[in-house]
Symmetry: C2
Subunit: 501 residues, 2 copies
């Protein structure tokens, strides 16, 4: 068995190298690549992703997995070895169904679509992006058909990001959430003058914002010897190894929230990647359990920590030193309320905690409609705007802040959006569990001590990588299942307090 | 034939993608990668380089080349097709001799050696680097033995960078050069007070230097839509496509020459890469003809253009605007002499045109001694310092400015250094030829018009990529062969004028 396992690891190690290299190329494309590099980059990414895919779905790996699965029964379920074989076999079964040319086509299409999206968004020119989106939707449908599904076509794609999650389950959770959130948003709207966030749109020097973000990341425990932060049009986190994790943010002079909450959010992702067990490196287990679990980490740091009164009890005095004029006459309580102002907004990434999930409902429904042919891509801007009006009561002034706002479709990902909401729900479940086990966490946060929380997250979640399915992991950590209730209770309490409901 | 050629191109295209991806990873390692990324990067590069090598030396490519070579006789020698088959067959024959594990070992060894070199140089700690150098020398000897050679072991390695060049020919050219340069250096030394370069060590703001370098690159014709400049410990240029060319430089506050001549030098390399024919993309022809030819372009721009009186006739007024205090009371002639001061110095990259080649003689001899076992690596610092004393009359204060000064050995390259001198000689031969055909070039340079020279270089040299051997190309462009004489005449005239000899 040892020998076969070693052979499997050697093969998986090389595949991991190809994927890591592709991640470097994508990171470069988002951060530093000149526009002229697009076409060549598309070819390079297609070759790397196709090679990784082809090597992975090879008969040899199938044979090794089959032989090893027969012998794995003796091993502890949670051991590196048993988990590697179990999780890899699951991936193998799925990937085998996708032909290599489709992987290459998707890599090429997305590399080209990225530049088109950047330009289309800059010029609010949806028709410039539409043909790329058509290609991507078409390829996604082909992938879904190749993977197969029982109930909804969306199931096949959702499973790529959130293993074993079904569209029906998402719809059910979303319905429950919707029923509780809509009245809350309405109640807050009636008291909207209770919070004023004008101070956040004053003139905040970009370099100082950047330096502040780096400080916060360092304090959170992000290790800059094993990672870095850069700028990009859309914030993201990627990893080439637990020892080389890259996050990005964007900085706007007149919007204080963007850079810092971008950094804290991506910092949550980045801590997950840096916290993976070194023993999992160069294997398929060296990854988050799912996109939803990954998002639980970023949302936990962004919201439960970063938007808490305790966090700013520690950081607000520091911020006052950095921006004495901008924060002249502003006290902690005013600042805390300002960063938590609830207001329907155009863009998910800038949304407050209460209206955030409404954006996800919109995407989830639109993506289902696209895949099921219920909306034509030429009508997408109208469909988008109609749902914005419906859920949030506002309509984008143009497609740049409407249908073109997010990077995901240009990256080829359809079926990804629900994981943002699932992660948001889970962030509260995980945080509540951490508080049960370490009641001092809020007091520690007030002193800028994030290590106990970070260590808890690392030991309970990060270190396991992709060993467990999301449902298994949630059960192991919290003892319960995914639920909308803890989140609803959390926002009701927090925003009831802020808005005096 | 068309079908076989297409199959060959498809295969070569994927190999080009792997090599381009590896170049991106190396660029990232030199510019932005955090220290923690080293070990994973070594694995990734090893996998990419090994894969590219394995795919290239495959039997299928051998078969295709053999069949195509039989049919190539009908084609024009200089056509893309005939050149592709001819040049690829030559590379194939050579690469077939190198086992894949050796390629992977070298990629891994150099990725690790790079960080060790950076640290060793920072702390002037040669023993920290020595084991890495031992590994690299050992791997180079194994490569040389695998490639085979008739006369000197150095021949096998030199051929990797300068196809068909022999150690004996280099030694002969160097001997001739030495005979002429040593008396010139001596004559200048007697008049060394004729030039004072103290003004170049005043306090030049780094951001202004950076902006000035970007201006010059733009004016030279470097297309920033198809490339960019970043900072790194050692300036270099790399390319992922003619449409994505990256150069680097370094900026020192108190050494004006470093950044700007670094930019102009690397800009010369970068124009070569941007000037390659688009029809050659994703083939082995999409590269410089040799390292010597590449260096002829960088040295031409750096010296014949950048260190000329005419260049600064155009740029000095602009520089005075940027640095009014630093250049207060300095006139063009004083500045021109200062940037051309001849003075034995520790480091090749900072050397003036006259003493530059002495550094190359030193490396050439030391590398031969290492490969032939005439010097032990533990004695290398002493051997280095002895030759510095011998050739330049100075001795490094420590190993950081001595044996550890350059990046090349850490990159695994032995046999590369002579190409710097060969390129320097060729730069004058090419420039003289350009002047013969376009006598207005000096007057154009005085007006900041670089397009005619750049276009001439592109049409005569760049566009051909690796179609011709260096000797063929030199003959095609200049009608003659590599020679030390034009360079000797050039430096005698220029420095005779500056030093009043």
């Amino acid at each position: 068995m040892e020998e076969k396992l070693q052979e499997l690891k050697t093969r998986l190690g090389e595949i991991a190298d190809f994927n890591a290299a592709a991640n470097v190329l994508e990171w470069d494309q988002m951060t530093y690549m000149p526009p002229g590099g697009t076409a060549a980059r598309a070819e390079q990414l297609a070759t790397l992703r196709k090679t990784a895919h082809t090597l992975f779905v090879s008969d040899e790996i199938g044979r090794l997995l089959e032989e090893l699965q027969a012998e794995v029964a003796d091993l502890d379920y949670a051991s590196d070895e048993a988990s590697l074989i179990r999780a890899t076999a699951r991936d193998y079964e799925r990937e085998r169904k996708i032909p290599g040319w489709l992987v290459a086509e998707m890599a090429k299409a997305t590399a080209l679509a990225h530049e088109a999206w950047v330009q289309a968004r800059a010029e609010s020119d949806y028709p410039h992006f539409q043909p790329h989106l058509e290609k991507i939707v078409d390829l996604n449908i082909q992938i879904a058909e190749a993977l197969g599904y029982k109930d909804r076509i969306y199931d096949a794609l959702l499973d790529l990001f959130e293993p074993e999650m079904k569209t029906a389950q998402v719809a059910q959770v979303f319905d429950e959430l919707k029923a509780k959130l809509v009245p809350l948003v309405r109640a807050i709207a009636e008291k909207k003058d209770a919070v004023d966030d004008a101070i956040l749109f004053r003139d905040y020097d970009e370099e100082k914002q950047w330096a502040f973000g780096l400080d916060v990341l360092r304090q959170m425990g992000f290790d800059f010897e094993r990672g870095r932060q850069d700028k990009s049009a859309h914030p993201f986190t990627t990893s080439f190894s637990p020892n080389d994790v890259r996050l990005t943010t964007r900085v706007y002079r007149n919007q204080f929230r963007t850079a810092i909450f971008g950094s804290i959010h991506e910092g949550g992702h980045a801590l997950y990647e840096q916290g993976l067990s070194p023993t999992l490196e160069r294997t398929p287990l060296c990854d988050g359990a799912s996109m939803g679990i990954h998002e639980s980490q970023s949302r936990l740091w962004e919201n439960l920590v970063g938007r808490s009164r305790g966090f700013w009890t520690f950081y607000f005095p520091h911020l006052e030193e950095l921006f004495p004029q901008q924060l002249d006459g502003v006290d902690l309580e005013t600042f805390y309320k300002a960063i938590n102002k609830v207001e329907p907004s155009m863009i998910r990434v800038e949304a407050d905690e209460v209206t955030y999930n409404l954006h996800i409902f919109l995407r989830f429904e639109i993506e289902n409609d696209i895949l099921e042919g219920k909306v034509k891509l030429s009508d997408l801007p109208e469909a988008w705007n109609a749902k914005m009006k419906d859920y949030l009561g506002i309509v984008p002034a143009n497609d740049a802040e409407g249908v073109l706002q997010d990077i995901h479709w240009s990256m080829g990902t359809i079926g990804y959006f629900p994981t943002y909401a699932l992660g948001t729900l889970l962030s509260v479940q995980f945080y509540n569990q951490a508080l049960t086990e370490i009641p001092e966490i809020p007091a520690q946060i007030e002193r800028g001590e994030f290590a106990p929380l970070r260590t808890w997250l690392q030991e309970r979640i990060h270190v396991h990588g992709k060993k467990f399915t999301p449902a298994e992991l949630v059960k192991r950590v919290t003892g319960s299942e995914l639920s909308a209730r803890p989140f609803v209770e959390y926002v009701r309490a927090k925003y009831g307090d802020i808005y005096g409901l």
